[in-house]
């Protein structure tokens, strides 16, 4: 596999300069504009995502938070008429630079969707799929190890250990979502994007996923879109509030929910008509 990721010199310099003062950001976005045809969905978004933390993206429907999330692993590439401007860097490397291998990028930046979407395959094969196409396992034993570890990390192993050959679609909604998380972490990503990962789940399954997210942040950088403000407040350390395609306010989660600065953020988090 060719790993021709072209380095953007200016971005590297920026991250290095930052490194002198603090831990470098895992993902940096600068001047990001996104257009769907003629319609502009994001307007000059600048947002830096710190490593090993959970960053929540909040905002009303249509504010651009999911669009932004999808820029981070170039999921928007497959949307007709979608155009992304600006610079998004992963570890200082521009992911929109020419020659970037998108498949490799999406292995580094995994994604979990709103609705659990396991493949119509066995539980085992759901998790093994990614490592197989990326050639991460040299033998059957290797693959077993990857599958078991991923299921363990996703907090699902104990529930499915004796039925790895059963179809993934036969699991409950919450289990399916954890299967999708296991599938995402099987390819050893660095960043996990979650687009409303709990909105289709009951409170117990939601609590399990939240618990899991808290554990996963030790090893991964997590960026999550959520409509539940309580969930954002519970699981994230950083929060960014989007409104009408603009990034209105970002900061420590506790500050955003206890003393937001911008009037639009105040109105949104307190449930007022903005």
């Amino acid at each position: 596999m060719e790993l021709a990721i072209h380095t953007d010199v200016s971005a590297n310099a920026r991250v290095n300069a930052q490194g002198l003062n603090s831990k470098p950001h895992k993902v940096t976005a600068e001047g990001v504009n996104v257009f769907y045809g003629n319609k502009q969905a994001l307007n000059q978004v600048n947002l830096d995502i710190p490593s090993n933390m959970v960053t929540a993206l909040i905002g009303p429907s249509g504010c651009g938070k999911s669009t932004f999330l999808r820029c981070l692993n170039r999921m928007n590439d497959v949307v007709d008429g979608c155009r992304v401007e600006g610079e998004i860097c992963l570890d200082g490397e521009n992911i929109y630079a020419r020659g970037v291998d998108v498949v490799h990028l999406r292995a580094r930046v995994g994604m979990v969707f709103q609705k659990p979407n396991p493949f119509p395959k066995s539980i085992y094969d759901n998790v093994a799929y990614g490592p197989r196409i990326h050639g991460l396992a040299k033998s059957r034993t290797d693959m077993d190890e990857i599958v078991m570890t991923s299921l363990e990390k996703a907090g699902l192993l104990d529930e499915v250990r004796d039925r790895l050959d059963a179809p993934g679609t036969g699991l409950s909604g919450g289990q399916q979502q954890r299967l999708c998380i296991a599938r995402a972490i099987a390819v050893e990503p660095e960043v996990i994007l979650m687009d409303e990962p709990c909105s289709a789940l009951d409170p117990i399954a939601t609590a399990k996923i939240e618990e899991l997210i808290d554990e996963l942040k030790e090893n991964y950088t997590i960026i999550m879109v959520t409509h539940s403000m309580q969930q954002a407040a519970r699981v994230s350390q950083k929060t960014a509030f989007f409104h009408l395609g603009e990034l209105v306010e970002q900061g420590d989660t506790t500050d955003i929910f206890t003393k937001p600065v911008d009037e639009r953020t105040k109105a949104y988090v307190t449930g007022r008509i903005g």
């Binding site: 407040a233 929910f257 206890t258 003393k259 105040k266 109105a267 307190t270 449930g271 007022r272």
Partner: protein, 235 residues
């Protein structure tokens, strides 16, 4: 905040919290005024009325307790709303304590009214109480109007109360040294003075909570304190 909540009954909830606090505050202010008035006029009937009326404040505190728990559980307030609910809960507790101290002043008034008056101490206590009353009034205004400057001003004025308390302490010690027969009355008066001084501390705590309600932060600077009664000796 100028905008209304999408769920309009939430606005009604917050409005109700405000009005219960206003009612409690008004009652607490009047209880202190009546208690000290009864003390200086040796008015046993008024003192009994103060003791009786404390129940009203206790009931309102209970109402705030139950109501804030309900609002927290059902609305899960955020940001300014969260501060409003938490501050109401804490203020209710402060106001209830203020009511208790006023009641205690009234109880001691019943005892003191049966004794010979001692010196001018009750006048000093009255002056001190007037200062504390105006602090209560101002802090309630600051709460109602979300007035940060006014809340901070109240917080700074507790120093004057502390100074008066220290001077009362010296005065009462002097009376006791002069004539041991004054000891019983003076000891009760010491407690009365201490009660009024403690009310001042609760008002200061309310002022700090109003500061937090409006700004989202606790007051950063140390406030001046000048209660030297704990180190006072009369030789």
């Amino acid at each position: 905040m100028e905008h209304e909540h999408i769920v309009s009954s939430f606005d009604e909830d917050l409005g109700r919290l405000d009005s219960i606090i206003a009612e409690m505050g008004g009652l607490a202010e009047r209880q202190l005024a009546d208690a000290v008035d009864a003390l200086s006029r040796r008015d046993v009937a008024l003192a009994k009325k103060v003791i009786e009326s404390d129940k009203q404040i206790d009931l309102l505190e209970e109402e705030i307790d139950n109501f804030t728990i309900r609002v927290l559980a059902l609305r899960q307030p955020m940001a300014e709303d969260l501060r409003a609910v938490v501050v109401a809960l804490k203020m209710a507790s402060n106001l209830e304590r203020i009511g208790d101290y006023a009641k205690n002043v009234a109880k001691r008034t019943l005892t003191l009214s049966a004794m010979e008056p001692v010196g001018n101490a009750t006048q000093t206590i009255q002056r001190m109480a007037r200062q504390v009353q105006s602090m209560i009034k101002n802090v309630l205004d600051a709460y109602g109007a979300h007035d940060l400057a006014k809340a901070d001003d109240v917080r700074m004025r507790d120093e004057e109360v502390d100074l008066m308390h220290t001077s009362l302490f010296r005065e009462l010690l002097t009376y006791m040294l002069e004539d041991p027969r004054n000891i019983t009355a003076c000891t009760h008066l010491l407690f009365v003075a201490k009660n009024v001084e403690r009310i001042g501390d609760h008002v200061t705590s309310i002022a700090e909570n109003v500061h937090f309600l409006v700004s989202g932060d606790k007051p950063a600077d140390e406030r001046p304190k000048n209660d030297l009664s704990s180190q006072t000796i009369v030789e």
